[in-house]
Amino acid sequence: METDVIVGLEVHCQLDTKSKLFCGCSTDYRSDGPNTHVCPICLGLPGAMPVLNKRAIEFAMRVAKALNCTVLHESEFSRKNYFYPDLDKAYQITQYDKPLAEGGYLEIEGDEGGEKRIRLTRIHVEEDPGRLVHMGNAERGKYSLVDYNRAGIPLIEIVSEPDMRSPKEARKFLNKLRATLEYLSVFDSDKEGSLRVDANISIRGSERVEVKNITSYKGVEKALTFEITRQKNVLRRGQKVERETRHFLEERGVTQSARSKEQEHDYRYFPEPDLRPLLVQSWVDGIVLPELPDARRERFMKEYNISLNHARTLTGDFKLANFFEKWAKRYKENKTQKIPKLEINQKPVLEITEQGTLFIYPSTWVADTLIGELNYREMGFDEILSGNFYEQFADLIGLIDEDKITDKSAIEVLRLMLDQRLKHETLETPAGIVARLNLIRTEGDTSTVTTAIEEAINGNPKALEDYRAGKAGALNFLVGQVMKKTIGKADPVELNRQLAEALKKREV
């Protein structure tokens, strides 16, 4: 890890309110046409005036409390003045010198192991601008198309101190922040464009570069990696890193200088005269925080007896954590119903106590296998959280426990279950799929039984003699021996027949 890399992040997240920050337009604009979620206020028509959405402030305060920030006694909104086609009032209503909260921190898994605390500078609330689409080409002429549906959506901006030391730490910070906001039910990361990041990077002793326009989680690590390499190359060539703003171009994975294209920004901040200040510090005490990622991780390790790594993965996403708990509950219910006595079963599930503390949950199936299959299909948890997928997935793992299917078959079934959901086909239950594809194990798995039969006969010559002598118990005895070897998988009737046949063949 490079200790000479210094990274700070400014993260903008859309708050999951029903209406926009300053007007009653619905925030659910993504599946509708352009300019259909717009009113005089968010369109910035002359004469329209903003009215603050209380829930946006409540949400922001939840975040401030969860991140250990200090909520200011008095905060206010300011105008940030600049020209851009997606900014219809030519100013953004934001918070400048009196933000909602200051300070705070977020703990992440440091690159060198152990917990690392990333300090925060401040948290504030502001409105999102509209969305610009660049059109045209050099011959026909370039122009812009603007959709103001997004204008006025509430954003929370979280600014970190430059405490990160690598792209990996930045990614971890972002993931932890995202998860925390989801646990607080103020943010939905599955919504496209709901998160935007600006990064500040410098190599110790050199100028700081701002990289804007990072819109994906993966993009953050890519952008930072590229930029660090670029800066190091500049220094290696004996040149100076220029203090500037650069844009991240996601498809090419590079950052590009923005300074020549834009006017130098003098934002001419002043307090928004159409709004009144906030005195909301007293609200903090009344905020009851839900269980947050770290606490849930600890609880998962205790309650589900799973490893730190699995717990970290499973609690790193709110929806995934919820899915796991629903699945685990169902899995345990199935288990306790079907297999009260576990002497004959030599799988590692040994004992169930009342607290379930020694109950072993095959969490690998969720933390590794399921996630892998979802990622491969680029499916989010939304698609499997609704409905009864968790029940069916628990049932599927139960089938493995009951030795009805092999691990390999189970994966096949899982893939089918996911594909059916992905392609909106008719959904089948795991048992249904198993039956249809005849994946049921071992009644037909003659080779294992045949081997066991041979071993039983060869290993018990006296039984063979007895059988030849016509003694009645000999066959039963041998059946029992084969059952022991195949751990009860063989069908008794069928086994009798096969054993009899094998014995006949031995008759000399």
Binding site: L45, A90, Y91, R268, F270
Partner: protein, 434 residues
């Protein structure tokens, strides 16, 4: 569904008071059923072109009504047209209109005052009895004084600003203008009150019927309102009017407003800063004459704004931009807010001893057309009206005689939210000289 009828409105507008006339104005029943009301053209009216007397809004038809207009419609008023004004409210004479100036009905060689000159001329010219104006630094009271009609700047926060195309948010109010104090009071009954769409709006409805009894009233007479810079003939007419009030039972108390020294500078810094931000949205993209989408955006915007804004508007935008720019906020805007608070403190101090303050509305009678060509000398004419805006207090202008053949206005100012008392004093005077 209320039944709708309409009135016919075909005024002989010799004075260029109107920018838009609604010849068939529909109306419902209510307190103002069928009463013709004119609306200043910086107040949004659904379906009726609203230009702020600027080329940059030519053709703009708002899809919504200002709250005050909504209230008027519900009260049965017939919206008969949009009146001329100084472009975006920036001016004291209505000469800054992009669509020609309005003439003063008392003397068409003179200005009607501004920026609500069109509304004042419509009333003084006998075309309507009532109109809405707006007052940022005197824009209702000045034309009321120059045209010999009544105009009230309400207490800040008493009338919703939702739909008023903003010039200086922290200073302006929509207010009633009329032939008589009763007209103004009736209009105020309809438009005052809380609006959830205006976050600066107070819950202070106005239900008052004017009363002429001012026995025992204490009136403050500020020395700054009768000093150098006020035309002696105007001062004399106003002194005489105040004498009339004393005959009605009021007593006068001399007082002083030292913070007036900074009032004009505080006013112009505040309004130009706010205006520079409010007017930045006019770029020809969403409304108004179009930007050339084949050009790069800064070039396109500058083109639209140079062609669309008059010189005074561009001047004030640049002044405001400068005053807010990096490094200057502390020197100008922040200082202006201190000066403003000093003005408020002065008024509070005076109002501990008196009930209202009286003086001339304007330092002179209406100027001749083209007389005030220098911006700074124009700004100085606002000296007697801006303090009320800085202090958020109500202020009315009522006609009190003539000087040099032209109307003179008596200005009454009161405590914040005591609009009723200010109306009563004006009413008492008006009834006494009728």
């Amino acid at each position: 569904m209320l039944s709708e009828t309409s009135i016919v409105f075909e005024p002989d507008d010799k004075f260029n008071a109107f920018l838009t006339v609604c010849n068939r104005a529909t109306h419902t029943g209510g307190k103002l059923a069928g009463v013709a009301v004119a609306i200043k053209d910086n107040i949004s009216t659904r379906g009726i072109e609203t230009t702020c007397a600027s080329r940059i809004l030519k053709g703009y038809v708002p899809p919504y009504d200002a709250h005050a207009v909504d209230l008027l419609r519900h009260a049965g008023a017939a919206i008969v047209g949009k009146t001329n004004m100084d472009e975006f409210g920036m001016g004291t004479t209505t000469e800054n209109s992009a669509f020609g100036t309005t003439l003063n009905p008392h003397d068409t060689g003179r200005v009607p005052g501004g920026s609500s000159g069109g509304s004042a001329a419509a009333i003084a010219g006998g075309m309507v009895r009532m109109a809405l104006g707006t007052d940022t630094g005197g824009s209702i009271r000045c034309p009321a004084a120059f045209c010999g009609i009544v105009g009230l700047k309400p207490s800040y926060g008493r009338v919703s600003r939702y739909g008023l195309i903003a010039y200086a948010n922290s200073l302006e109010q929509i207010g009633p203008m009329g032939k008589t104090v009763s007209d103004v009071s009736t209009l105020m009954q309809v438009i005052a009150g809380y609006d959830c769409h205006d976050s600066t709006s107070h819950n202070k409805p106005y239900t008052h019927i004017p009363r002429a009894d001012i026995n025992g009233l204490k009136i403050g007479i500020p020395q700054e309102y009768f000093g150098a810079g006020v035309d002696p003939a105007v001062a004399a007419v106003v002194q005489s009017a105040i004498g009339r009030l004393e005959e009605l039972g009021a007593t006068t108390v001399p007082c002083s407003i030292p913070s007036m020294k900074y009032a004009l500078a505080a006013y112009y810094v505040t309004c130009t800063c706010e205006a520079s931000s409010n007017l930045a949205r006019f770029d020809g993209v969403r409304y108004g004459p179009s930007a050339d989408t084949k050009k790069p955006w800064h070039e396109a915007y500058q083109e639209v704004r140079r062609a669309g804004f008059g010189a005074e508007v561009r001047r004030r935008i640049m002044l405001g931009t400068f005053a807010l720019s990096s490094g200057y906020y502390g020197k100008y805007y922040a200082k202006a807010q201190v000066a403003r608070e000093n003005v408020r403190k002065d008024f509070r101090r005076i109002f501990a001893d008196v009930d209202v303050i009286a003086g001339p509305t304007m330092p002179t009678i209406a100027f001749r057309l083209g007389e005030k060509s220098d911006p700074l000398s124009m700004y100085l004419a606002d000296i007697l009206t801006v303090p009320a805006n800085l202090a958020d207090i109500p202020a009315i202008s009522v006609p009190c005689g003539k000087a040099g053949g032209m109307p003179v206005g008596l200005q009454i100012m009161g405590r914040h939210f005591e609009d009723e008392r200010v109306i009563d004093v004006a009413y008492a005077y008006e009834q006494a000289v009728v």
